[in-house]
């Protein structure tokens, strides 16, 4: 009887602390499905920043506990899976490899500009939301930057019955999946990457047959069309 009097307040305190939120969430593998697309006939290399191997974002919600989300290597896995499906040939190169030493049509350097999330206590809803702002830089095989494309991805998950940790994890995965969908849908339109293949073909032709192919250099800061 005496013991149960101690257990009940302890349980109530634990429940109170838990309801204040705060947790460490880990996303190991966003695991996007194989896209139903025809790959672009390009030999592409990708160079990832070090942060793609271990990305951790922490946020202290006012008056609540600290939330931490660890994306680990999931960005590297996401972009590798994605580019592998989008191009006929794809390789990941080390950060210290110099582009001119490599044979490719295009070199892609994705990075994370910003990562944000909101929890129900902030939004006054039952939702966890994650925003990720990626930046994709594309270089031709001469090392000339042809595009600098920022993309904003969004994922939302209801806390509901799945619990806060799982909902935040789900929102992060949905945001990464949203980024993948946006890249598939708009990358060529926004960056003109497919023209690099034509440039490659023309470069191999005799000089008299070569025409100047206008490569996109300013599509760069175009805001993605989110209505599509």
């Amino acid at each position: 009887m005496h013991q149960s009097r101690k257990i009940v307040p302890a349980l109530l305190t634990a429940m109170l602390v838990a309801s204040c939120g705060g947790a460490n969430v880990t996303v190991n593998d966003p695991s996007i499905p194989k896209p139903l697309i025809v790959p672009l006939p390009l030999n592409v290399a990708a160079k990832y920043p070090d942060v793609f191997d271990h990305f951790v974002h922490e946020e202290k919600v006012m008056g609540k506990k600290k939330w931490s989300i660890d994306l680990g290597r999931s960005n590297r896995l996401l972009f590798t899976q994605l580019f592998d499906s989008m191009f006929t040939e794809f390789n990941v190169v080390a950060t210290d490899e110099y582009p001119k030493d490599l044979m490719f049509d295009a070199l892609i350097e994705p990075s994370i500009d910003a990562f944000e999330f909101s929890v129900p206590s902030q939004s006054q809803t039952d939702e966890f939301a994650v925003w990720i702002r990626y930046r994709i830089k594309i270089f031709d095989n001469e090392g000339v930057q042809i595009a600098n494309w920022p993309i904003a991805a969004y994922g939302k998950s209801l806390a509901g019955s799945v619990g806060g940790d799982h909902a935040l994890q789900r929102a992060a995965i949905l945001a990464m999946r949203d980024a993948a969908a946006l890249i598939i849908l708009q990358m060529d339109k926004a960056t003109g990457i497919s023209k690099l293949s034509e440039a490659h073909v023309n470069r191999d032709m005799p000089s008299s047959e070569t025409e100047d192919i206008p490569l996109q250099t300013t599509a760069a800061e175009e805001t993605p069309d989110e209505s599509s």
């Binding site: 697309i37 993948a180 849908l185």
Partner: protein
């Protein structure tokens, strides 16, 4: 023998009475608007999806699974393909950002490489897009609870009104057109009187909307009614 029968009848009456008391009042309105003829054959199925949250939709995941389960239940149940399986198989064309917002986007979608074949392989004839949510629209009353070493209890009265308003748009992937919409508007008031022990009298509007919408949706799809 007669006394035993009377006792059983009394117990059943009490059970029915408490069942009626334990649920709040609910009013519902179910409607459908048909734009094209429907029908479904052996081997064809449907997918139930939430409209994109990029378009501001807030439909609860549990409502979508409830409608899916209800439509597929029973001898006249339809074959419901799990939406995650369908969305993954057609990635990235049914993502919140990329899914067509209107049925007139279907021809473009179907012309994308591999999409029509994948939909055929999955046996999906109709995509049902759910939109709407359950909201608390009013509430009032007050209740206070206290607990001490000798026990605890509550005293007071609280009430709240929920409105569950959902709409299902049915897209025919065979005819590449909007077949029509089915809507359910259910509102109900829940009460919570408490004299020592709180007794919840809940109006389960979302549950009622789910079952009503699912029944109507099943009839709408299998019907050969002309426009």
């Amino acid at each position: 023998m007669k006394a035993a029968n009377n006792q059983t009848t009394r117990r059943l009456l009490m059970l029915a009475l408490s069942g009626a008391l334990m649920s709040g009042c609910v009013t519902s309105r179910i409607e459908n608007i048909r734009e094209n003829t429907t029908g479904i054959t052996e081997g064809e199925g449907i997918v139930i999806m939430a409209k994109s949250y990029h378009l501001g939709n807030e439909t609860e995941a549990k409502f979508i699974s409830c409608v899916g389960n209800s439509v597929g239940r029973g001898s006249k149940g339809l074959h419901v393909i799990p939406n995650t399986e369908f969305v993954d198989a057609l990635f990235p064309w049914f993502e919140p950002r990329t899914a067509p917002a209107e049925a007139k986007g279907l021809p473009t979608l179907m012309s994308r490489p591999g999409v029509a074949q994948k939909i055929k392989d999955k046996g999906v004839r109709y995509v049902v897009w759910l939109d709407g949510e359950t909201e608390k629209v009013a509430g009032g009353g007050s209740m206070s609870c206290a607990a001490g070493p000798g026990g605890g209890g509550c005293f007071g009265f609280a009430w709240w009104q929920n409105d569950s308003n959902y709409e299902a748009s049915v897209w025919d992937l065979d005819g590449l057109e909007n077949a029509g919409t089915v809507s359910a508007d259910v509102s109900g008031t829940s009460y919570l009187p408490a004299i020592v022990v709180p007794i919840p009298l809940l109006a389960r509007t979302q549950n009622k909307a789910c079952n009503a919408l699912a029944d109507q949706l099943r009839l709408f799809i299998i019907s050969d009614e002309q426009v």
